[in-house]
Structure formats: structure tokens, C-alpha cells
């Protein structure tokens, strides 16, 4: 297989996964897109090392994660970091879905704000991407026990956020019709 085809099939095909990961970390479409592009370019530039990579998914995930962390470090704008995530995608949904989407989005934000970078990574990979414990452990080079521990912690926040939104009306359902 040519380098180009290998790149397309193995790495470029993972673009959405990488993009979502960057999106939840950087909280902006444009920056997430830039980070994803940058990560893929870096992967291409390191093509001499491809043969050494045992798990390309984990490797590409490491690259996007490092890219995101670098960007966050550079920004160092805690204020921006705390801003609400953009809700640009919900406009295509029907009114009922939008309200659910907004509630869930609010829950997601509340959880993410309370997690460390590592816990956030575990949470995204498990809850959004649906990776197994083993896969996450491999991706992040940590033990499965650590994955479960991080997940337990993030689900505790998830449960609290759900209770808050559903019981106290903080994220009251908005009718868009």
C-alpha cells in the first residue's frame, strides 16, 4: 500500500474522532479544525515512523491530545476556557430535539468543567466515542484500573449535573417552536 493510501485509510479516516476530541478540549469549531489539520500534517511528516507504530489510533490520539494541550497552554486564557461551548450545530434539529440537545449540552459542559485534562480525555473517549476500557488504557498509556477510576469520578459529576438540570430546572427545556 502506498504512503498516500495508508495515510488516507489509517489516519485521515479518523478525522472526525480527532476533531471531536479537539472540539471538546478547545471548545471552538475553528480551533478544533486547525488542531486536527495540524495533527494530521504532523502524522504525515512523521511517516518515517509509521512502521514502528503498533496502534495507529492510539498514536494519532496522542498527537491530537498533545496538540490540544499545547494550544491550551499557549492560550492561558482561563476566561476563554470557561466560556460556554458553541451551540452552532443544533440549528438543524427539530424543536423537540433542540431542547434535549441543549439540556444534554449543558450537562456535558458542567461535567467537563469539573474534570482534569486526563479525566476529560477518558470521559470523551468512553461516553462520546464509545471506546472500551482496554482501548482507552492503550490510547492514554494508563492502566485499566486508572481508566475505571477516572470514569467513576466523571460519572459522579455526570449524575450530579443530570440531577441539577432535571430536578432544579437550571437547564429548563426551551421550546423553539
Amino acid at each position: 500500500m502506498s504512503e498516500e493510501n495508508y495515510f488516507k485509510n489509517t489516519f485521515l479516516s479518523q478525522k472526525n474522532k480527532l476533531y471531536r476530541f479537539a472540539y471538546f478540549f478547545l471548545k471552538g469549531e475553528d480551533e478544533a479544525k486547525d488542531a486536527t489539520q495540524e495533527a494530521l500534517i504532523k502524522i504525515w511528516d512523521k511517516r518515517e515512523e509509521w512502521h514502528k507504530v503498533e496502534n495507529p489510533d492510539a498514536w494519532s490520539m496522542q498527537i491530537i491530545k498533545n496538540n490540544c494541550l499545547d494550544r491550551l497552554r499557549k492560550k492561558k486564557t482561563a476566561q476563554k476556557h470557561q466560556q460556554l461551548m458553541e451551540l452552532t450545530h443544533s440549528t438543524h434539529q427539530n424543536p423537540g430535539t433542540i431542547s434535549i440537545w441543549q439540556d444534554q449540552w449543558q450537562i456535558l459542559q458542567q461535567v467537563m468543567e469539573q474534570l482534569s485534562e486526563k479525566q476529560k480525555t477518558v470521559f470523551i473517549l468512553r461516553e462520546i466515542e464509545g471506546n472500551s476500557y482496554q482501548e482507552i488504557a492503550e490510547l492514554l498509556e494508563i492502566s485499566e484500573a486508572q481508566v475505571k477510576s477516572d470514569l467513576f469520578r466523571s460519572r459522579k459529576f455526570l449524575r450530579e449535573a443530570m440531577l441539577k438540570v432535571n430536578n432544579y430546572g437550571i437547564g429548563t427545556t426551551k421550546t423553539m417552536a
Binding site: 485521515l12 478525522k15 472540539y23 479544525k33 500534517i41 434539529q93 440537545w101 482496554q134 467513576f152
Partner: protein
């Protein structure tokens, strides 16, 4: 699926005790029974559904692929062509320099029409003789020049004398005219 089983899975889910297969099954059951669920189970069903939507909504189009390929694979191809040009140019320069390096000594080895100045550095006496001869030549040339200068000086003196004589004659003529008047 009995609600008791779902509640049990729910608790295990919060504790992070469900294995991957069980969790997939749990998600699937919540999706199927969503309409009849209440409380936390319903919230969780909505959460899972929203996460599925997130995967659909937060994605990149084909234009992104083009952008990435242009900055990677295709850039590399054009860079590759450029590299060949560079190699070709380098070879050409090397050949030219080689030819020049071969040609110059060839020209230097040819006999020259102009009288050559022999290298006398290795023989001091010869160098002295050469210098002496050169200085003598220069002295002769300077003496010749001096002779020319002397003749020019004589010419200047003669010119001055003629001019003075003419002036005196003119002033004498003027005085004679005045006396006659």
C-alpha cells in the same frame, strides 16, 4: 427487559462496574425502551442519544480531506518534483565547475605571446639584477624626459624674449607718434 435489571445496570453504570459488552447492552435497552422510562433512566437514555447525535453533528466534510491532502501528500509530490529540479541544477553546476577547473589549467599551460616575468624569488642575485635593470631602465627614461623638459624650457625663454622685444618696439613707436604731434 425488566426494569429491575435496568436499575441494577444503572447503579453499576454509575459505579463504573459495567464491562464494555454490558454497557453496550444497557445503552441499547435504554434506547429501545426510552418511551416507557422515567427518572434517571430516562435522563441517561437522553444522554446516550445526545452523545450519538454529537458524533453525527460534530464532524468534518470532504473539503477538509482536500485541505489536508493538499498540505501533505500533494505538497510532498510537488516538493518531490522541486527536489528533482534542484538535483538537476546541482549536477549542472558541478559539471560547469568541473569543466572550468579542467579548462583553466589547459589555458595556463599554453605559451604566452607577452614576455613573461620570470619568478626570481628563489634566486636573490637574479632578483637583484632584474631590479637593477628595471631601475636603470626607469632612470634612462626619466633622463630622456628631463631632456625634453629642458628643450621645452628653452623654447619658453625664446618666446618670452620675442614678446618683450615686440612690446618695446610698440611702445617706442607710440612715443615717436606723440612727439611728432
Amino acid at each position: 427487559m425488566a426494569s429491575e435489571q435496568l436499575k441494577q445496570w444503572l447503579e453499576q453504570y454509575w459505579q463504573g462496574e459495567l464491562n464494555h459488552v454490558e454497557e453496550m447492552q444497557f445503552r441499547s435497552e435504554l434506547k429501545i425502551n426510552k418511551a416507557s422510562l422515567t427518572g434517571e433512566l430516562k435522563s441517561l437514555a437522553e444522554w446516550f442519544e445526545a452523545n450519538e447525535n454529537v458524533k453525527q453533528e460534530i464532524s468534518l466534510g470532504d473539503d477538509f480531506d482536500e485541505m489536508v491532502l493538499n498540505s501533505t501528500v500533494r505538497k510532498n509530490i510537488s516538493m518531490g518534483n522541486w527536489s528533482w529540479w534542484k538535483i538537476a541544477a546541482s549536477i549542472l553546476i558541478i559539471i560547469s565547475l568541473g569543466y572550468m577547473a579542467w579548462l583553466l589549467p589547459q589555458q595556463n599551460s599554453k605559451p604566452k605571446n607577452v614576455a613573461e616575468i620570470t619568478n626570481t624569488q628563489e634566486d636573490p642575485e637574479k632578483a637583484f639584477e632584474e631590479t637593477k635593470a628595471t631601475l636603470l631602465l626607469m632612470a634612462n627614461m626619466m633622463n630622456n624626459g628631463k631632456e625634453h623638459l629642458n628643450s621645452l624650457q628653452l623654447f619658453q625663454v625664446a618666446q618670452d624674449k620675442i614678446q618683450n622685444t615686440l612690446k618695446q618696439e610698440k611702445s617706442k613707436q607710440k612715443e615717436d607718434i606723440k612727439n611728432k604731434i
